[in-house]
């Protein structure tokens, strides 16, 4: 029970600090509001019950945190549990301070249970916090560090994160510690332990020698340390990284329901104009969600851990991007919230131009982020602005874009050359524009033009034919789907390609939907053409092949005794959540499939996406594709050929086929592992390989 003076003092302090915190909160909300677009309220309202249920699970279990770093996730969970429970504890303590006769100690029933939990969580929380502080400041986990080539906002460089972490960590220790100590003081003063607070009771025993007067002082001081501290720090907390406890859940609550759209680009925001045109030059040009991301970010660097561009030594760190945004906002919050044009552009403080062009848009950062951030989308927005402004492009990239505009493919080849891969097929593929078919096969650029993939494409055609699938293609009418063009930021070119494809698709009649070879095309056709009033049922060829094998329309002649691992393509797995079909095929064919540590949604990008495949290599470190081959070899055991032959590295994306065939050579692993497409595997099992050989491809 507080003295009247204390009660008044506490109320005064509350008035001041809550006022300041509220002001800060409003500034932040206004800052977020400066982002382009706004939440789709009608949809959010309609789906609110489902969203809240999902949120409860996400947050209640801190589910997204567990995807990586299990030990840290456990410590975090303890802290989370302690902190959540402390909402009740603090309210109860407040009541104790103000209400005469209200106290929790030495009572039974539900209150005792409350005490048990509070007591246990206090100690666990303190322990967890201490452990996390030790990790950061004593062990100095290098995952908190940024490579020196990453652009950092001055305040970040000067150790802002460490300072804030120390303050937040110190607060938690003091706050929880004081409360727990206060309980011990009360217990010591009461002269009797309370079984409902066994740990505090232990401490109380140690406090026995202290005089009752001093214990009474202790009770008051610890009360103030526990609750007064909250007030004191509230205005700061709102601006600190600790606010992730609020904006993280908000982010999850407002996120689109659909996983694919979460990773995908959002039409409304990509297109929402600012005065200078498309894309983002300044922070306020980004979507509102991107500004919110800066506040949700807890600066854990999980995204940096999984980023293939960072791993390859480029100056791109997705976490540095969010952190820079946040510290810049902290410094400029008042002006920014007031609607003033930012004094600096994103390239001045958030990320370097080189970093902008290093992103593979693999979506790993989005997938891993525990608070639902999407730094990748910022990067695409900045690219859009750079393209729009006529910024000098990587020559290879520029050539590719010009080739897309001229020929509809990046290979600098005639649109008519698109069907050259069909040469030598023992049957003629239907032109879906001329006769109705069940399935339209959207072959895609790499599958059609890259000689390494052409043979696979022929095999897939023969498999579909052998299974009696009624399918056709668009012949020279097909253009690149524009998926990667869009990720490069050339939105206008994407639109052009989409229009050209839609025009051709409109001419075609396909009853069952579209089959794609390239997961990138799959994504564009499935999600990004949809907003143009068209929606297609799009399936990946591995899904079709899996079905055909399952239903017996294709039958494997004999089991394949290969030992293999499978690489999930980013745009098939993370973007389109197709994980099982290729694995089912392997199982049906009897392949001994061993999973790499990074599989399914955590798959590691080959390094080709987002336009990287056209750009001159700018990597300092190990190329992502080579790192991946190393991972595969470690998984399969690098003993080379066994009685089951050379192990296989299975892919289901034509770009992967090219990237990994290269990587096996450049990493000097020829003969130790062989890159094979799932389609080749099925063809072999079905007994189609011989026909392909008899086509006499290339060998003369």
């Amino acid at each position: 029970m507080l003295t009247p003076a204390e009660k008044i003092a506490f109320l005064c302090l509350a008035a001041v600090t809550l006022g300041l915190a509220t002001r800060n909160a409003f500034l932040i909300l206004r800052a977020i509001g400066r982002g382009q677009g706004q939440p789709n309220w009608p949809v959010i309202k309609r789906t609110l019950p489902r969203r809240l249920a999902r949120l409860a699970v996400q947050v209640g279990l801190t589910r997204p945190v567990w995807r990586q770093r299990p030990l840290v996730a456990l410590l975090h969970y303890l802290l989370f549990a302690a902190f959540s429970f402390y909402v009740l504890v603090n309210l109860s303590d407040l009541a104790e301070g103000y209400l005469a006769g209200y106290q929790t100690l030495h009572r039974g029933g539900i209150v005792a249970a409350f005490n048990v939990v509070a007591d246990t969580l206090s100690v666990l929380g303190i322990g967890a916090m201490a452990a996390l502080l030790v990790r950061r400041f004593v062990i100095r986990d290098r995952r908190f560090a940024f490579r020196s080539n990453v652009l950092l906002y001055p305040r970040v460089k000067a150790g802002g994160i460490q300072r804030d972490s120390l303050i937040v960590g110190g607060f938690i220790l003091l706050h929880v510690g004081s409360r727990w100590l206060g309980q011990a003081c009360q217990l010591a003063a009461s002269g009797a332990p309370d079984v409902s607070e066994p740990l505090a009771s232990l401490l109380a025993r140690a406090l026995q020698p202290v005089s009752p007067a001093l214990l009474e002082v202790g009770v008051h001081v610890t009360w103030w340390m526990a609750l007064g501290l909250i007030l004191l720090f509230l205005p700061y907390f709102v601006r600190s990284k600790h606010i992730h406890i609020f904006f993280g859940p908000v982010n999850w609550l407002l996120y689109p329901d659909d996983r694919a759209t979460r990773v995908g680009l959002r039409e409304s925001e990509a297109k929402s104009g600012n005065s200078t045109g498309r894309g983002a030059t300044r922070l306020e040009d980004l979507g509102w969600r991107q500004v919110l991301d800066a506040y949700a970010c807890i600066m854990c660097n999980r995204c940096q851990d999984v980023c293939p561009a960072y791993a390859a030594g480029t100056p791109l760190s997705p976490s540095a991007l969010e952190i820079n945004k946040r510290y810049w906002l902290n410094d400029h919050l008042v002006e920014f919230a007031a609607g003033k044009t930012s004094s600096e552009g994103l390239l001045d403080f958030a990320l370097s131009k080189e970093a902008v062009w290093a992103c593979t848009t693999c979506g790993a950062c989005v997938e891993v982020c525990p608070v639902g951030n999407a730094p990748m989308l910022d990067i695409v927005a900045v690219r859009q602005a750079l393209i729009e402004a006529g910024s000098e492009l990587d020559p290879g990239l520029q050539k590719a874009l010009e080739s897309f505009a001229k020929h509809g493919n990046s290979f600098g080849q005639s649109a008519r050359a698109r069907i050259r891969w069909t040469t030598g097929l023992p049957f003629k593929i239907k032109d879906a524009r001329k006769e109705p078919v069940d399935y339209l096969w959207f072959v895609g650029d790499y599958a059609a033009f890259d000689p390494r993939s052409q043979q696979v494409t022929r095999l897939v055609a023969q498999l579909l034919n052998a299974a009696g699938i009624d399918f056709g293609i668009l012949y020279d009418g097909e253009r690149n789907s524009g998926n990667d063009v869009r990720r490069v930021g050339e939105e206008g070119l994407f639109e052009l390609l989409a229009e050209q494809n839609l025009e051709q698709l409109a001419k075609a009649e396909f009853r069952e939907g579209i089959i794609t070879t390239d997961p990138h095309s799959m994504h564009a056709l499935r999600y990004e053409y949809a907003t143009r009033g068209q929606s297609f049922r799009v399936r990946h060829y591995t899904q079709v092949l899996a079905d055909l094998l399952r239903t017996g329309r294709l039958s494997a002649g004999h089991a394949l005794a290969y030992r293999a691992t499978y690489h999930d393509p980013c745009y098939l797995g993370r973007y389109n959540r197709v994980f099982d079909a290729p694995r089912q095929i392997c199982a049906l064919l009897g392949v001994d499939l061993v999973e790499m540590p990074r599989n399914r949604a955590s798959s590691f990008c080959c390094g080709a996406g987002g336009g990287q495949v056209w750009q001159a290599s700018r990597l300092g470190g190990e190329r992502p594709s080579e790192a991946r081959i190393r991972e595969a070899l470690a998984t399969l055991g690098s003993n080379g050929p066994s009685q089951r032959g050379v192990p296989l590295f299975l892919v289901a994306c034509p770009k992967d086929y090219a990237m990994y065939t290269d990587a096996v050579k450049t990493s000097g692993n020829e003969g130790k592992i062989v890159v094979r497409d799932i389609g080749e595997l099925v063809a072999e099992a079905v007994g189609l390989g011989i026909e392909e050989a008899s086509l006499g491809r290339r060998a003369r």
Binding site: I387, P395, S414, G492, R700
Partner: protein
Amino acid sequence: MDVLVVLRQVPDLVEDLELNAAGTDLERDSLKYVLNEFDDWALEQALLLKEKNGALVTVLAPDLPEADTSLYTALAKGADRAAKVSGDFVLTRSSHALADILAPAIRVLPHDVVLTGVQSAEDLDGQLAVLLGSYLGYPAVSVVTDVAVDGSSLIVRKEFAGGLCAEYEVALPCVLGIQAAVRTPRYAPVSRVRAVSKEKKIEVLSAGGIRESDLRIVAFRKPEGGRRADMITGDPDSVAQQIVAILRQRGLLKRSSE
């Protein structure tokens, strides 16, 4: 300063070029046209002059297929004005005839210097830049890799074989055949090209009579052999011997024979 850039459409070499039945021309119906790549460099040089010296850039094209696309792209990149000379000269391969058609159009458009690509894939009877100089009565320099303004004249860098260059001071007006510029031709975002094609107009000038060519075409033909490797077999030394024979036959041993 006023810079005029001549942009010329040429057959896209990426496509398979078919010959007509008589073997006297390409099969023009199936041809795809693109901007002559050197003209793109000429445009870049003009835009660099504009950025540095505040030039007004006019682009002019003979109305060959897809010329509008090239003109709009040039506008999107920063050209100020676009015009085309219309007339039925798709079948004219003669650079003399083109120069003859373009010269009167150039005279009515603002220009202190005329830039165009140093060469194209189909100037059988000479390169356009120099011919324009002759038809306009201006001095002309070809194989230019850099241009700077110096008072009322230009400082022009011309390149010879082996990377040797010479610098000339060229009086205005003049014509330059551009081989390269200090930066690669810039990229024009598709959205801007599309916006420009809605906002801006291409002026149309009509061509006079078409000059008769003073060359008679005997035949258009594909080089023999085509592009399918003849395989050389044998032990290493015999392979080496055969390669040397091929090189000798093709006159590729000249340096070692010096």
